[in-house]
């Protein structure tokens, strides 16, 4: 390069600042734009999904650390006790599985696999096609919820 030392000195700093800022901005926008489109509502945590693509349906192992409340809620729910694992409803994060990847599972494609009879019953009762999770939060239906205490039959062993 043939610039004078003064010229280089006076502009390099500004140049550098500008270049770094621009590069940063573009990368951040690209990255977050993409991630937001690809993984709605989960944002940048989703990048962790790329760390072990071969184990991308082994959700619980990581999520007990990254989202302990959700993981614990699942574990204590009926789905957790019966080992209906995350991917059955949510798919796998690269979206290349057989279940569409979704934070909120599709009622028709997912819930109906097992709960078709109940969904039909609810539709008959309330008419509209509602999202199951409005009244039945997915991860909070504990095996030991009220139904556990309220039934007492004659089959007591003591």
């Amino acid at each position: 390069m043939a610039q004078t030392p003064q010229y280089r000195k006076s502009l390099t700093l500004r140049h550098w600042i500008f270049l770094i800022a621009a590069a940063l901005a573009i990368l951040v926008i690209l990255a977050f734009g993409y991630v937001n489109a690809a993984f709605p509502k989960v944002r940048c945590e989703a990048f962790k999904h790329l760390e072990a693509p071969e184990a991308s349906s082994d959700c619980y192992t990581c999520h007990q650390k990254t989202s302990p409340k959700t993981a614990q809620d699942w574990l204590e729910s009926k789905h957790g006790v019966n080992l209906v694992k995350c991917f059955v409803c949510h798919g796998q994060p690269d979206g290349k599985g057989s279940v569409p990847w979704a934070v909120k599972p599709d009622v028709d494609k997912t819930c109906r696999k097992c709960h078709d009879p109940s969904i039909r019953k609810m539709q008959k009762k309330y008419g509209a096609d509602r999202d199951c999770s409005e009244c039945h939060p997915f991860h909070n239906n504990s095996l030991h919820h009220a139904a556990y205490e309220k039934t007492k039959t004659k089959t007591t062993i003591e």
């Binding site: 990368l27 690209l30 990255a31 993409y34 991630v35 690809a38 993984f39 944002r43 940048c44 990048f47 790329l50 693509p53 071969e54 184990a55 991308s56 349906s57 082994d58 009926k78 006790v81 019966n82 080992l83 209906v84 694992k85 991917f87 059955v88 798919g91 796998q92 994060p93 690269d94 979206g95 290349k96 599985g97 057989s98 279940v99 569409p100 990847w101 028709d108 494609k109 109906r112 696999k113 097992c114 709960h115 078709d116 009879p117 109940s118 095996l143 030991h144 139904a147 556990y148 205490e149 039934t151 007492k152 039959t153 004659k154 089959t155 007591t156 062993i157 003591e158």
Partner: protein, 749 residues
């Protein structure tokens, strides 16, 4: 949002990686099913009803059948079956191995080549040199047909199948105790039981929908006691009131000690066992109750504690709960069956029920679980094993053979009176060059046999001809096949599956098979005719024709399901046999007057064990016997194998489902925290497992699931064939191998 520099760099790298692999949102467009076809799940012996959703001739969705016993629910495997049907590994053309490579050929060439091989072996070495090795996953019609072709057509009793590896001991147990095979209860008993005794079964991972039903029962009534007896603290133990880990291989002592306590505390039902039970010694001598009580003195809870490692007080608690509950149900599976004394273990569980009278009432039953969708209906019932004829008849009994000869239109005394080779003996014979031509249907022995290295060598013999009817090209056994025939898979053809609770249900044809795939029933009929089997023996045009003959063959026996016409099966989501007439609803409880159509309505006694000459069941005096290979100084630990919920058997199906594959992508060894600490093993370290048969490196999962001294490895992974390390010692009664226990040494690799 805060991002450290490291995170940022990772994120940048990740985003470019994502862009490189393409859009992550590339799943199928709208594929809503417009037609639903009824079927049965392809996986375990629970036999859940499923509905296959069809759109434009393609299966697009699966949901549970609300009218079957599973009431619409499915486990994670059942809910994700669709990708298996369309796997790229499907075999779609017949192939012959030419110059070491499987080469596509026409159906005619493949069938003629196979038939010629069989004919030349039959001519040179006789019927003892040919064999059929089938599966508890084949349809009932397929196994019935294959068994008939070999036993009646080729006069070879070398008809075996993988059910020998999974439920032969349960058959032995039921037959020796009650005289007839198959459970007397049903899944409905779970809803009525007040104590559920689970031993040797990880129900939660191996039969998830039954576990769900058990959990529901527990939830409906917290007073229901659940006992889980298992050396591993599995997910099944999560809902247990009592989880009892014990030294592997000592279950016989636990069961005898429970019987001791029941009698000692006078918790037995002497009215029941006084009237309906014979006590018998191990060498079949009838004795009285007093002699049995004396025999049990060797198994006081204190003595058993020394053998089993289970506290005497715990054994007493279990026995008390078992006996005092209004209705107790036992459930067991491979932990009991895959043992050197599996039949005895089965007998001892039945003993507890016969002593307490917990039998033949809603919620009270000894119930054996099976691992495959059609091991019960398909293989046990149709007689698809080397010592059996259809519907519980035995080859060694002349009157049974003569009856079958009549039913099959054969001259009297023309069936081969000598039972064939059982599975381990069969593969030994292949290894010795005594069996030279084998037809295999729907099973993967090169991965699933115990001590598999030895048997892989047998299959690899130059002079062994192996014809495989197999849907997936990546099955291990494919490497040894000389001819491969492509079958229609699961819902690509119709046929019956029979699950653990004697329920027969029809898998309807939902879609067309791909490529040149043909229904196995047609393949078998075609092959039989080319092997010069009398065409009158195989006059079938469809699976329905085979079914209608099989119904008639069952009619003179206590299996009688003559009333299950194809039409009924098309409408109903399964019917439980006995079902003698078309208006019979099926049977929930056997051996009980008014419930089992085989017991005359005017029978003087409520219970009638009609399989036994005097109508009485047997309490057997089976002594304690340990495993075939106990740990010692050189191999100080115990290796056990089994399943995880995400995968099934040799993984040829579940590895095709991306979610299931990636949930448990690789084999591992489960090590107890205490053992890991002693050996300096951390989670993820590579561990070398060595047994007398081989060694294998596996990553460790350190946890408290296994009892100290025990390690567990799942058997699903073709790249880590853990069966190279397992032992092929087998139960002398049932000939079922002891997969569950062998001695192992572990060290950091």
């Amino acid at each position: 949002m805060k991002l450290s520099r490291r995170d940022f760099l990772k994120a940048t790298a990740a985003s470019s990686a994502l862009m490189a692999v393409g859009s992550p949102m590339a799943f199928a467009a709208d594929d809503k099913a417009d037609k639903w076809v009824k079927g049965v799940c392809r996986f375990c012996g629970t036999g859940c009803g499923v509905m296959v959703g069809i759109h434009n001739g393609r299966a697009v969705q699966i949901k549970g059948d609300p009218n079957n016993h599973n009431a619409g629910f499915l486990c994670l495997k059942g809910a994700l079956m669709v990708p298996i049907i369309y796997a790229k590994e499907r075999v779609t053309d017949p192939m012959i191995r030419k110059n070491g490579k499987l080469t596509k050929v026409s159906w005619d060439e493949a069938l003629n080549y196979t038939a010629d091989k069989f004919k030349s072996v039959l001519k040179a070495d006789g019927p003892g040199a040919v064999a059929y090795y089938g599966s508890g996953q084949a349809l009932t019609e397929e196994t019935y047909l294959a068994s008939k072709i070999f036993k009646a057509g080729l006069k070879s009793n070398n008809v075996e199948g993988n059910p020998r590896l999974c439920m032969a001991s349960a058959v032995g147990g039921y037959v020796t105790t009650y005289g007839k095979d198959e459970p007397m209860g049903s899944y409905d008993d779970i809803d009525a039981a007040s104590c559920i005794f689970i031993i040797g079964s990880n129900t939660s991972e191996c039969h998830p929908i039954l576990f769900k039903r058990i959990a529901k029962r527990k939830q409906a009534d917290p007073n229901v006691k659940i006992i889980v007896v298992d050396p591993r603290r599995t997910n099944t133990a999560r809902i247990a009131d009592l989880h009892v880990p014990f030294k592997p291989g000592t279950d016989l002592a636990i069961l005898n000690a429970m019987a001791y306590h029941i009698i000692d505390e006078e918790l037995d039902n002497s009215r029941f066992h006084g009237k309906y039970v014979n006590f018998m010694t191990n060498d079949k001598k009838k004795v009285d109750f007093e002699a049995y009580r004396k025999f049990l003195e060797d198994y006081t809870p204190e003595k058993a504690e020394k053998i089993t490692g289970v506290k005497a007080a715990t054994i007493r608690t279990m026995a008390t709960w078992f006996a005092e509950s209004p209705a107790t149900m036992s459930l067991w599976c491979m932990g009991i069956n895959q043992r050197i004394r599996g039949v005895w273990a089965n007998n001892l569980i039945s003993n507890l029920h016969l002593l307490t009278g917990h039998i033949g009432k809603p919620g009270a039953t000894p119930f054996s679980l099976t691992g495959q969708p059609n091991a019960c209906g398909g293989v046990r019932d149709t007689g698809g094993l080397s010592h059996l004829l259809p519907a519980g008849r035995l080859i060694k009994k002349k009157e049974n053979r003569n009856e079958m000869e009549k039913l099959w239109g054969l001259p009297q005394d023309s069936l081969n009176p000598k039972p064939g080779l059982h599975t381990v003996a069969l593969y030994n014979a292949i290894g010795e060059g005594k069996v030279k031509a084998v037809l295999m249907l729907c099973t993967n022995p090169a991965q699933s046999l115990p001590n598999v290295n030895k048997h892989r060598k047998a299959l690899a013999r130059e002079d062994t001809f192996l014809c495989l009817i197999e849907a997936f090209a990546d099955a291990e056994t494919m490497k040894f096949a000389d001819v491969v025939l492509p079958p229609a898979f699961w819902c690509e053809r119709e046929g019956v599956y029979g699950c653990s609770e004697r329920r027969y249900a029809l898998v309807d044809k939902a879609i067309e098979p791909p490529g040149q795939c043909r229904e196995s029933v047609h393949i078998l009929v075609d092959l039989a005719k080319r092997m010069d089997v009398d065409p009158k023996l195989v006059p079938y045009k469809s699976a329905e024709d085979v079914w209608n003959e099989w119904r008639k063959v069952s009619r003179p026996t206590p299996y009688n399901f003559y009333g299950m016409t194809r039409d009924r099966l098309r409408k109903a989501s399964g019917i439980r046999w006995p079902c003698p007439t078309e208006d019979h609803p099926g049977t929930k409880i056997r051996y009980v007057r008014g419930k089992d159509p085989n017991v005359p309505a005017d029978h003087p006694n409520k219970y009638f064990f009609y399989g036994k000459p005097d109508g009485k069941a047997v309490v057997w005096m089976r002594p304690y016997k340990g495993a075939a290979e106990e740990p010692d100084a050189a191999y100080p630990m115990v290796l056990t194998t089994g399943r995880v919920i995400d995968h099934w058997h040799t993984g040829t199906m579940t590895m095709k489902v991306p979610e299931l594959k990636k949930s448990f992508p690789a084999a591992y060894v489960e090590v107890n925290t205490r053992d890991a600490k002693a050996k300096g093993i951390n989670n993820g370290d590579i561990i070398k497992l060595t047994t007398r048969r081989g060694a294998m490196d596996l990553p460790a999962r350190v946890s408290d699931v296994c009892l100290p001294g025990l390690v567990f490895v799942p058997f699903h992974y073709a790249d880590k064939l853990i069966n190279k390390l397992t032992l092929d010692a087998f139960d002398p009664g049932s000939k079922q191998p002891e997969y569950k226990i062998c001695a192992v040494k572990i060290e950091k690799a």
